[in-house]
């Protein structure tokens, strides 16, 4: 059972990570959701394993399943759910503004990258001009 769960968690982490590396927000959100599920499964397996429902008086307390990881997982599911909903709202807003949900680079980063490209182009042009002058001489 716990091998199966460990395998499931690994699968979820793997696919989630792959989706996270995409540019579209919709895929990133699905990826974040999958990784969240993976960590919740991990949280569930961190208890003592199989056992009876932990209701006082129903059985011997030593046979109970550990209720704490379940409570923790529930809390984290609720939080992840809320934040995912917020991300969807952000994605919708982005789609309304730009008709797209591609996550763009930082403004300054794009500015610096463009400056670098411009410098390269200018250098290339200068080299070409020199070559042309050389050819003229020949």
């Amino acid at each position: 059972m716990s091998v199966l769960l460990a395998f499931a968690a690994a699968m979820l982490f793997g696919t989630g990570t792959w989706l996270l590396l995409q540019r579209r927000l919709s895929r990133i959100i699905v990826g974040v959701g999958l990784i969240g599920h993976g960590s919740n499964i991990l949280l569930l397996t961190s208890g003592s394993g199989l056992g009876l429902p932990p209701i006082l008086g129903s059985a011997d307390p030593t046979d109970f399943a550990d209720p704490l990881p379940q409570a923790l997982a529930l809390t984290s599911i609720v939080i992840t759910f809320g934040v995912t909903a917020f991300l969807f709202a952000l994605g919708y807003r982005s789609w309304k503004l730009t008709n797209d949900d591609i996550v763009e680079d930082d403004v300054e980063d794009r500015y610096i990258a463009r400056r670098a490209v411009d410098a390269e182009v200018a250098e290339g042009e200068a080299a070409e001009r020199e070559r042309a002058i050389e050819e003229d001489r020949v």
Partner: protein
């Protein structure tokens, strides 16, 4: 949210023996803002009522935190050793949620509540997002509750919940207004924070399966039973989790991208508090939970050095005032990590002093940046100029914290840096000392660059020149007053540097003796339960 509701229910039933009514005040830093947030939702349509509720609640918080700090600091003679514990809902320590206030937590609570109330007044004076959105006040108050909760919690899972309270409200505040730039940077901020939270959950799951507890005091007791490799693994995992929030190298990249797009007042409170909550969590977990052999001294020193350098170089290369200051936060996180990484009394005391100094001074600088933008209509260094003539008041307000952060002798920044550097020399870590001194010089250059571009010279932009000449834009009185208060606090840090440093040293001594913390949390359990 089960942990949250149980915090909400505890008020009346607090069972820590011996200290009487004092313990009922411990959960107040969380409960008070939450109740105020609920009330301000009810009065969503009456902005003035909302304002009164928030300001009164946060002023109450300041009063409560002053009281907590004096009580915790006085209690040195007691067996508890200046650590106040409250068990949520009367459930005993490893089962229930412990709320712990030691000197470090009390200092952080007081400084953060002072900043929260000043920035709120500034935001009210700004007549911007605060006036347009009914959700500003409730969300801001939940942020206050989340920040306070992360300082006082004695339980790692509850720390996760506190982080989430703080982060979710920061998502909303960051994207308030929904402009294209905010949505873009909001996306990367939310996704990064969400991944950090998932790492945190993963770390918690692994810690729980290894030790069977998430109570920090009990974790500290059980950690020596694990093999040393596992201990080091957990230590690194927690550094990575909190490092993303603190913005240390190489996990800082999201910070200078997202902070400047938020509304001014919001950026000021993010810059002052949020990263410092991450630093606090690193200091707390490293010193409390892990025994000496799992503490990452060398790694943290390297990280601290890189963080300082990258931050200050980034600040040098930008043109936008808010971006320069945002990059600059990262550089200073490096100093705090340096103090911790020395793992000596002087180093940790220096780090605590540095955190306090940085929260106040950085908030002040961001508030002044907001004033510059309001007055000149832009905060790009290449466009603004000559403010020293057209707005001498702003120039003075900028000069005081800027000199302080650059570490010019009489100011608190000098005291903080001097403490750290002398601690580094004492520990014979020459490399980090040299880096910190170089970065200190570069910081002075960054501040000088802002000064000569914004305050000296002529405005390069004709429109801005006209705007400044005519003197048409009057600064709202509340904005000016709250900036003056925060700048005044940064000057007060200089006046009270001696007593404050002594306090930081006492807090560091508490931190270096984790047994006191463990006994205070688990010991009161056996008395209350037994």
């Amino acid at each position: 949210m089960s942990a949250l509701t149980s915090i909400g229910f505890l008020g009346a039933d607090v069972t820590a023996p011996g200290s009487g009514s004092f313990d009922a005040l411990i959960p107040l830093p969380v409960i008070l803002p939450l109740i105020a947030a609920a009330l301000s939702v009810v009065f969503a349509r009456l902005r003035n009522v909302q304002r009164v509720i928030s300001v009164v609640a946060l002023l109450g918080l300041v009063a409560n935190n002053i009281f907590l700090l004096t009580r915790v600091d006085q209690a040195t003679g007691d067996a508890i050793g200046g650590i106040a514990v409250s068990q949520a809902g009367g459930w005993v320590a490893p089962l229930g949620i412990s709320l712990v206030v030691d000197r470090l937590a009390a200092i952080m609570l007081l400084v953060s509540s002072l900043m929260l109330v000043s920035v709120l007044v500034y935001a009210i004076g700004q007549h911007a997002e605060e006036r347009r959105f009914a959700s500003f006040h409730p969300v801001y108050l939940v942020l206050a509750a989340g920040v306070s909760a992360s300082f006082i919690t004695g339980d790692l899972f509850n720390l996760f919940v506190a982080f989430e309270m703080m982060l979710v409200s920061s998502y909303v505040l960051l994207t308030l207004g929904g402009r294209a730039g905010q949505v873009r940077s909001g996306m990367s901020y939310v996704v990064i924070s969400l991944i950090a939270s998932t790492f945190f959950i993963t770390a918690l799951a692994l810690l729980y399966s290894a030790t069977g507890t998430v109570n920090m005091a009990e974790l500290a007791e059980r950690m020596p039973e694990l093999s040393s490799g596992v201990r080091v693994g957990f230590s690194l995992l927690l550094i990575a989790v909190f490092g993303i929030k603190a913005g240390i190298f190489p996990l800082f990249f999201w910070l200078p991208d997202s902070y400047p797009t938020a509304p001014n007042a919001v950026t000021a409170i993010f810059a002052g508090l949020l990263t410092k909550v991450g630093v606090y969590a690193i200091i707390r977990t490293q010193l409390l939970i892990f025994p000496i052999d799992a503490q990452q001294g060398t790694l943290l020193l390297v990280v601290a050095g890189c963080t300082m350098l990258v931050g200050v170089l980034g600040a040098l290369s930008h043109d936008d005032l808010q971006r320069i200051l945002s990059f600059h936060i990262i550089s200073h996180i490096g100093y705090m990590i340096m103090g911790l990484a020395l793992f000596t009394l002087a180093g940790i005391a220096g780090a605590i002093f540095y955190v306090v100094h940085h929260i106040v001074v950085k908030t002040a600088l961001f508030l002044v940046a907001g004033l510059v933008e309001r007055k000149a209509g832009s905060d790009r260094l290449s466009r603004v100029g000559g403010l020293v003539r057209s707005a001498p008041m702003i120039a003075v307000l900028f000069a005081l914290p800027a000199l302080s952060i650059a570490g010019i002798p009489p100011f608190s920044g000098f005291v903080a840096k001097f403490a750290l550097v002398s601690a580094g020399i004492e520990a014979q870590q020459w490399g980090i000392v040299v880096v910190s001194l170089i970065v200190s010089l570069l910081t002075m250059y960054v501040m000088g660059r802002i000064w000569s571009n914004v305050f000296w010279g002529q405005p390069e932009d004709g429109e801005i020149a006209e705007r400044l000449e005519s003197g048409a834009t009057k600064l709202p009185i509340l904005m000016t007053v709250s900036t003056v208060v925060v700048v005044g606090l940064s000057v007060a840090l200089l006046v009270f540097a001696g007593p404050l440093y002594d306090l930081a040293e006492r807090a560091a001594a508490d931190l270096l003796n984790p047994q006191g913390y463990i006994d205070a949390v688990l010991g009161s359990h056996s008395e209350a339960g037994g």
